[in-house]
């Protein structure tokens, strides 16, 4: 028994060391964000010294160069409203597809499932052209694109959940005189809460980090955070390593905050999403 305790303590120490090593890249970036831009590439592992420490200069220049706060605004706006649109509309669609049986609904359902395995490159050129023709190349229009793109996974997950809801509940509501619309919003929607959180988390994660779609659809006028970070890299002859480090830190902060607040839901959502995907 005593040896087992000793082994376990050693394992905990080993895991602690591993964790520090594992997360060290983030701390190294943080550390470098306070060093002058010419002291980063050559010695990224050196601590800032009196000569190399520049305070928040990198943050100020980076924020100005890429317009960080407008990028943050676009990212927040697009992610929040896309996720809301996906939640409401795909939940409605899924309920209909599950409850109304027929050839049409079956074909529609399997088309949604099919879309999950199609890589983005397959449709990126044609989709961005169509978005252009339809004047969807703005932060509002792109929400429609995200609704269409997020629909596959979301419909799949909602349908799986709705199949498990007993019909008796809805029949009771119908006898009480609920119209289908009332039935959906008053009876079904509250039952969907747990799966909605999963769907919201999964969609929020990919939309927030998405690079190519916003670049191709709205990238020339509106930059989300990933597009803005990449712009810093490509837009200048000699790249400003200091500003890049600072912007990497600023790009990670919202994610850490979100993770801190939603940790349980995120982990549960990831497991549920994986099991179904």
């Amino acid at each position: 028994m005593r040896t087992k305790k000793l082994v376990n303590s050693l394992l905990v120490i080993l895991l602690a060391v591993l964790t520090v090593a594992f997360l060290s890249p983030i701390f190294i970036v943080l550390m470098n964000s306070f060093k002058g831009q010419f002291f980063i590439s050559d010695a990224p592992f050196a601590l800032p010294t009196r000569d190399t420490f520049v305070g928040f200069d990198n943050y100020l220049s980076g924020i100005e160069k890429i317009g960080f706060f407008s990028a943050l605004g676009y990212s927040l706006f697009i992610t929040v409203f896309s996720v809301l649109a996906i939640l409401i509309f795909t939940a409605m669609t899924s309920w209909y597809l599950t409850r109304v049986r027929g050839r049409f609904t079956r074909v529609v359902y399997y088309t949604f499932v099919f879309s999950m395995i199609v890589p983005f490159q397959m449709v990126m050129f044609t989709m961005s052209k169509i978005a252009n023709v339809l004047h969807l190349e703005n932060p509002v229009g792109i929400i429609l694109i995200y609704l269409g793109f997020g629909a596959g996974l979301s419909v799949f997950m909602f349908c799986g959940f709705i199949r498990g809801i007993p019909l008796a509940i809805e029949e009771a509501a119908e006898i009480d005189g609920c119209t289908p619309v009332q039935r959906f919003f008053y009876v079904i929607l509250p039952i969907l809460k747990p799966i909605s959180i999963t769907v919201a988390v999964l969609n929020a994660m990919w939309i927030w980090n998405d690079y190519l779609l916003p670049l191709l659809v709205i990238g020339s006028k509106y930059r989300t955070i990933p597009v803005a970070v990449q712009y810093l890299q490509g837009g200048y002859g000699s790249r400003d390593m200091g500003a890049l480090m600072a912007m990497l830190v600023l790009a990670i902060i919202p994610i850490v905050v979100f993770y801190g607040l939603m940790q349980k839901h995120i982990i549960r959502g990831v497991v549920a999403g994986a099991v179904k995907g």
């Binding site: 109304v100 998405d210 990933p226």
Partner: protein
């Protein structure tokens, strides 16, 4: 009940269907059609049969090189990510102190987007290599292993969480019975744990496989394909064919169709193989 609901079909279906048609169905069908045509904008397409598909292999070796690079990367990543994630999951289901904290920490990198990940690792790897006076783009092997390290960093925590869930589903009586029967740690792992977490292994293999095969952002940010186009993966090759060269849109679209077929095939084969080995529980 179906009848009363049917009347409202337009309300429940229309918003999602319109978005789905615009964002996916029409672009997909147009994409398949355009792969058989020559075009610069969608409206001036001219049917050319299989020309684009032939040009993929005759114009240059980019696609084939990208294909082999992607395959090699995918094999190495799938094996390393799953092995490490599984070992970590075993350690983190022993009821050790701090288990929750460790799980949280290891999952963290998964939430960071590919572009940001690419630049984080560019800094780290270039820092290490600068000791030898070279950088990431000096040799293709550096880029390859850089991508593998990045992929592991991003995916290990995610896969670990799924393995943990799978391991926790194994009834503890099974381990007790095995211990009474005199099974050692390794025998228990081989004959009880592994067969019972097979569903998790299926899921994780599938996820790492498709994520590695379709990788774009990380590749784009970390190496950009350098040196030359040697570390260019399939998704990046398609992107560059479209946007990095002129007059090759048709070839780009044909590559995209092939890419889609490959992804679909890999997914189907993989699912079939691992499904067959799952234990019914």
């Amino acid at each position: 009940m179906q009848k009363s609901l049917r009347k409202y079909g337009w309300l429940f279906l229309l918003p999602t269907l319109i978005a789905f048609l615009i964002a996916f169905v029409i672009p997909f069908l147009a994409g398949v059609w355009l792969s058989f045509t020559e075009f610069t904008t969608v409206t001036n397409a001219k049917f050319v049969g299989l020309d684009n598909y032939i040009r993929i292999f005759t114009d240059n070796r980019d696609f084939l090189n990208a294909f082999w690079f992607t395959v090699k990367f995918t094999v190495v990543s799938v094996v390393s990510v799953n092995l490490l994630a599984f070992i970590l999951a075993l350690l983190l289901t022993k009821g050790l102190r701090g288990t929750n904290f460790f799980r949280t920490a290891f999952f963290m990198p998964n939430l960071i987007g590919g572009i940001v990940l690419g630049y984080i690792w560019q800094l780290i790897i270039n820092g290490v290599l600068s000791g030898m006076g070279v950088d990431l783009t000096y040799r293709a092997e550096y880029g390859f292993w850089g991508l593998v390290v990045l992929m592991n960093w991003q995916m290990i925590g995610y896969m670990m969480i799924i393995y943990v869930a799978g391991l926790q589903n194994i009834p503890s009586e099974l381990h007790e019975v095995a211990a009474i029967d005199g099974a050692g740690g390794f025998a228990t792992l081989r004959h009880i744990t592994l067969p019972l977490v097979m569903p998790s292994i299926t899921i994780c293999t599938f996820l790492t496989l498709s994520n590695s095969f379709k990788m774009f952002d990380q590749n784009y940010a970390l190496t950009g394909g350098a040196p030359g186009k040697e570390t260019q993966m399939l998704a990046l090759d398609i992107y560059n064919t479209f946007y990095g060269s002129v007059g090759n849109e048709g070839v780009g679209q044909a590559k995209a169709v092939l890419f889609f077929v490959l992804v679909a095939l890999v997914a189907l084969i993989q699912l079939r193989i691992t499904r067959a080995r799952e234990v019914e529980t």
